[in-house]
Each structure stands twice: as structure tokens, then as C-alpha cells.
């Protein structure tokens, strides 16, 4: 007990000015938080099934509960939702195995090197088969086809975000290396690519991809709208990522590459074993920053008619039987987005600290 009193005395009541500031802030919080708490929790309605049971002067969490399946699965047919759950469960399981392998196998163990590659090839194939029903026209499980316009909700948001991140990362590295290349054509291509994608708002890009691209393509070629949105987000983020990674490349002393060259390592070996491990480590905060931005940018796919998590929440808020609950919807959406972003931020901190001793 004494310790806490001591802490309070040292940190928030250490002088007349401190006491004044602490007390005024406390009063302000009490004044401001009271009504907020009333609205959010105390007067709010948690149980029930219809809009009539809600308190018009407080939050109505029944709304969230009633629509939760839709928030998660979008318009995916109810009888087929187990497929989404199964794909998600597999992803979580694989992630768990990944962490366990990294924990219990030494740094250069072949399982540790092979596992991510196997997952990277196998998982998209399996999950596309599961979610869509067939993969490249092959329907091995005999599942019903669920067109991508029925996909939506949190699961669509996660699909766009994860494939965007997984695709943008290698592309960003390639662009960053290309921009430093000694070959003028490659260097110019990468610079133009980066400047063009960075100079255009994502909304414009998505809009062009969904409305204008079909005008230029021959009639018989139809690229799925989701795939187009995915590609846009991937390319868009890779341009930002490339600049972040370039910062890391430039932060390394030139002696590193010289020493690697002097040992006879080829350009790609130098990049793979010497330059990139250090450069990426240096810019983990910037990389994660870009990924968090990408995650939140997925909400923009609404304007091309894809109902991501936020889009579904908005749609539910304008449901005629449940009018007047947009605020609850947005608070819920904000909390979910925050959780995912916070998770990424913590993981980045963990990665930063893991290798701190060496650098």
C-alpha cells in the first residue's frame, strides 16, 4: 500500500501545481466520462431481440448482436458459412504452428525455412477452393460455388488485408532494390512505378480499376472485381513500402556490401544474407506503419461495391427495422479495427526487441 501512496506522491502530487493539474483533470474526466459511461454501459441494453426493447437515450448493443454473423460473413450463404470458419481456423492453426516452430527449432533448421514457403503456396490454394468452391476451375471437394460478390464483412476485410500485405511485401523489396539498381532501365521503371502509385489517391485507383479497366479490356476477358481491388491495394502499398525499405537500405554502411563482395558472394546472396536482414530490421516500425495503413485502407473497397467489414456495418445501420444505431455500429467497427492494428503494433515491437542486442 505504502508503495502506491509513494508512487502517487512522486508522480502526480509532487507539488502544488501538480496537485492542481491532477485534480482538474480528474474533475474533467469525471464530468466527461460519466455521461459516456452511462450511454455506453450503464443505461445501455444488452439483451433482447428487437429494436423496441432498446433505450433511445443509450447504446443498443442488441443491434450488434443481431447483425454479428453478417458483420463477420457478409452475404455469404448461411448454410455455407462453415467454410469460412474452417478457413479461418486453419489459418489460426497454421499461425500457431509457425510460432511454435520458430520457438523450438534453431535458426537455420530446414523445417523452419521450409514451413513458411509450404504454407504460402498451400494455404491460398486450399482457402480459395474452400471459400469460392473451386480453384482455377478445379472443384475437388464438390462444393457449391459462392461468387465473390456474396463475400463480405470482416472475413473479406481480412482476405484483402492479408493478401495485400503478403503480396506488397516482396514487391516492395523488389522495387526498393530496383530503385538502387545499376541498370538504368530497371532503375527508371521502379522510380516511375513508385512515383505514379504514390502520387494517386487509392480511391481513384480503385475506381479506375473497377469502372475504366473493363472498357479497355476485350469483352471476353473479365477479371474478377475482388481480384482487381486486391491488385490495386497490393501495388499501391508496395510503392509506399518500397520507399520505407529504401530508407533501411541507405542506412547501412557501404562497408557491409563491400565486405560481402570481397568474400565472393553474388549480388543476390549479398541481399539475401547481409543487406536485407539488416535493412528490414532497421525499418520494422515503418513497415508495420504501412501495413496498418493498408489494413485501414481496405475500407475504401466499399466505393467499388464490395462490402467489407465497415461497409456491412454501414449497411446494417440503414436497415429499416434497426434505424438509429449507426453510432453503435461505428464504435464496434472502430474497436475491431483498433484490436487488429494494436495486435500488429505489438508484434512489430516484439520483432524489434528480439534482435536488438545484435544491432
Amino acid at each position: 500500500m505504502n508503495r502506491y501512496v509513494q508512487w502517487l506522491r512522486n508522480n502526480v502530487f509532487s507539488g502544488p501545481v501538480d496537485c492542481f493539474i491532477t485534480l482538474s483533470l480528474g474533475l474533467f474526466l469525471w464530468w466527461a466520462m460519466g455521461p459516456l459511461l452511462d450511454w455506453l454501459v450503464i443505461d445501455a441494453v444488452f439483451s433482447g431481440t428487437s429494436n423496441e426493447q432498446c433505450n433511445p437515450d443509450a447504446a443498443c448493443w442488441i443491434f450488434i448482436r443481431e447483425f454479428l454473423p453478417q458483420f463477420i460473413f457478409g452475404f455469404y450463404p448461411e448454410d455455407e458459412r462453415w467454410r469460412v470458419s474452417l478457413a479461418a481456423a486453419t489459418a489460426i492453426l497454421l499461425l500457431l504452428i509457425f510460432f511454435l516452430i520458430n520457438r523450438y527449432f534453431p535458426k537455420n533448421h530446414s523445417i523452419r525455412i521450409a514451413f513458411p514457403w509450404v504454407v504460402l503456396i498451400a494455404y491460398p490454394t486450399i482457402s480459395i477452393t474452400l471459400l469460392y468452391g473451386s480453384f482455377l476451375g478445379v472443384n475437388i471437394f464438390g462444393l457449391n460455388i459462392v461468387e465473390t460478390h456474396q463475400w463480405g464483412g470482416l472475413f473479406l476485410t481480412l482476405i484483402i488485408a492479408v493478401s495485400g500485405i503478403v503480396g506488397a511485401f516482396p514487391l516492395g523489396i523488389a522495387l526498393a532494390l530496383g530503385r538502387q539498381s545499376e541498370l538504368p532501365v530497371i532503375r527508371a521503371f521502379c522510380r516511375i512505378f513508385i512515383e505514379v502509385w504514390r502520387g494517386v489517391p487509392l480511391i481513384t485507383v480503385l475506381f479506375m480499376a473497377s469502372v475504366m479497366l473493363p472498357l479497355f479490356l476485350p469483352n471476353n476477358i473479365d477479371i474478377n472485381k475482388l481480384v482487381r481491388a486486391l491488385l490495386c491495394i497490393m501495388l499501391f502499398s508496395s510503392a509506399y513500402l518500397a520507399e520505407v525499405i529504401r530508407g533501411g537500405l541507405q542506412s547501412l554502411p557501404s562497408g557491409q556490401q563491400e565486405a560481402a563482395s570481397a568474400l565472393g558472394l553474388s549480388y543476390w546472396q549479398q541481399m539475401r544474407y547481409i543487406i536485407l536482414p539488416q535493412a528490414l530490421q532497421q525499418v520494422i516500425p515503418g513497415i508495420v506503419n504501412t501495413f496498418i495503413g493498408l489494413f485501414k485502407d481496405t475500407t475504401l473497397v466499399l466505393i467499388i461495391g464490395l462490402f467489407d467489414f465497415l461497409g456491412i456495418v454501414q449497411a446494417a445501420a440503414s436497415n429499416a427495422q434497426w434505424l438509429g444505431h449507426a453510432i453503435e455500429g461505428y464504435i464496434f467497427a472502430a474497436m475491431v479495427f483498433w484490436c487488429f492494428c494494436f495486435l500488429m503494433s505489438r508484434y512489430s515491437l516484439h520483432l524489434e526487441n528480439k534482435n536488438r542486442i545484435q544491432l
Partner: protein, 253 residues
């Protein structure tokens, strides 16, 4: 057209080599013949082109004119060729340039595994042999920033030696070290010299030069001013510039 191969006992031949950085003429008509097993020390004021000279030998710097032969092979601008030359030429840098994300041992095994395609076990054995030779085997599992400057430089020496090069280049290997650590690195270099390695050292350690060198080269403003064996170089330098340089550096030592 000069021949692509020459047949002689000299392992390094500079034949009227010229190099420019833009308009700056940094190497002027350099000609040198270094025979197998010889130890050469290159000295001169800073900016005289001595580092550039040895960095041309393993093609870290390209030269624009003249021919350079390593082990009888002419240096040409080809990736495969350059990689082969670099495996025969080891290099130790002023700033050590160890890879900070790898342990001392991994610093030594990386090129063995990736370039020479040894198994991890073979590479580890060989690396431990050379780490033992430079008296740093007990630090094999440490990361570079856990080591002192002198220890880092000895790891860097081991990293170059594991590739079993025929020629070793030293670019001011002791200049970035605290005085009390210079000796441990020089001792390792002297041991290496006694084993018969061909060595080219850019250094201001005149005691080392006197003890080990077969020939000492004095460079100034991109030119070789004087080349002589140590006794002659220190006691009967011919050029005024050499004498002046020696006076400055020896009074300092």
C-alpha cells in the same frame, strides 16, 4: 591487345594502371610485380590512392586503363570472373565490416556455405580452425558488438582466411583501433606472414613494415614515388618526399 593470361611467378601484376574518379586522377600509371609469398607494405599520406590501389586488386574499384593480373588472370568486367578472383583474394578492412546480425562464427561460415557450398558442419569445423588460429575461438558465439575492436578485427581476419585465399589485402587494419589493441591484430598478421601468405598491407605501422615487409611502396598523389626493401627504405630513402613523410611518421611513433 594485351594477353588475357600471363605465365609468370608474379601473383599480382599492375601494368600501367590508371584510374579516375570523375576528373580526379587517383592512380597514375601504376606498375607493380608482386611475387608469390611476398609481403608488401604500401604507405603514404592520406588521399594518396593507396587504399584505392589495393581495392582494385579484388575489383571493389574498377580501373579504367592498363591491365591488372591476379594469379595470372587478367581482371575483366565479368561477374563470374570477378567472383572467382575474389575467392582467391581475402580482404581485411579498416572498419572491420563484420556482419552485425551474425555471430562471429556465422560471419566466418556464411561464404563457405553460400559460395564454396560446404555443408554447415564442414564450414563450422573450418571456421573454428581459423578462429582458433587468431586466438578468438572462445568468442565464436558472440555477436560483433559484444567484442572489442581488436577482437572484431581478428574475427574479420579469420572470416577472410577461411576462404583459404592465396593473397591477403589489408586496408589500414589497425587505424580504427585503440592503441592497446593494435598489438593483438599485428601479432596475428605477423603469424600469418610467417606462414608464407602473400600479403599487401596499407598501413602506417612502420614497426610492422620493418619486421615483415619484403618491399615498401611509398605513394603520393596517385603515383608510386619509391619502392624499396625496408632497410633501404628507412635508412636511405632516395626521394625528398619519402624522407619527409618518414620523418613525420617516425617522430610521431
Amino acid at each position: 591487345m594485351s594477353p588475357n593470361k600471363i605465365d609468370r611467378k608474379d601473383v599480382i601484376v599492375f601494368d600501367r594502371v590508371n584510374k579516375w574518379y570523375g576528373d580526379l586522377h587517383v592512380l597514375k600509371d601504376i606498375s607493380l610485380n608482386i611475387a608469390k609469398g611476398e609481403k608488401w607494405v604500401i604507405c603514404g599520406p592520406s588521399g594518396s590512392g593507396k587504399s584505392t590501389l589495393i581495392r582494385c586488386i579484388n575489383a571493389l574499384e574498377p580501373h579504367q586503363e592498363g591491365d591488372l593480373y591476379v594469379n595470372g588472370d587478367k581482371l575483366i568486367d565479368s561477374l563470374a570472373h570477378t567472383s572467382r578472383i575474389r575467392q582467391q583474394v581475402g580482404m581485411v578492412f579498416q572498419q572491420f565490416n563484420l556482419f552485425p546480425h551474425l555471430t562471429a562464427l556465422e560471419n566466418c561460415t556464411l561464404a563457405l556455405i553460400q559460395v564454396k557450398k560446404l555443408t554447415e558442419q564442414q564450414a563450422t569445423e573450418l571456421a573454428m580452425h581459423y578462429l582458433t588460429r587468431v586466438h578468438i575461438a572462445e568468442k565464436a558465439q558472440q555477436y560483433p558488438n559484444q567484442l572489442s575492436g581488436g577482437q572484431q578485427q581478428r574475427v574479420a581476419l579469420a572470416r577472410a582466411l577461411v576462404m583459404e585465399p592465396e593473397i591477403m589485402l589489408f586496408d589500414e587494419p589497425t587505424s580504427a583501433l585503440d592503441p592497446e589493441m593494435i598489438k593483438e591484430v599485428l601479432d596475428a598478421m605477423i603469424e600469418l606472414a610467417e606462414s608464407g601468405m602473400t600479403m599487401i598491407c596499407v598501413t602506417h605501422e612502420m614497426g610492422f613494415a620493418r619486421q615483415v615487409a619484403d618491399q615498401i611502396v611509398f605513394m603520393d598523389e596517385g603515383e608510386i614515388i619509391e619502392t624499396a626493401p625496408p632497410t633501404e627504405f628507412f635508412d636511405h630513402a632516395k626521394c625528398a618526399r619519402t624522407q619527409q613523410f618518414l620523418k613525420q611518421i617516425l617522430s610521431h611513433n
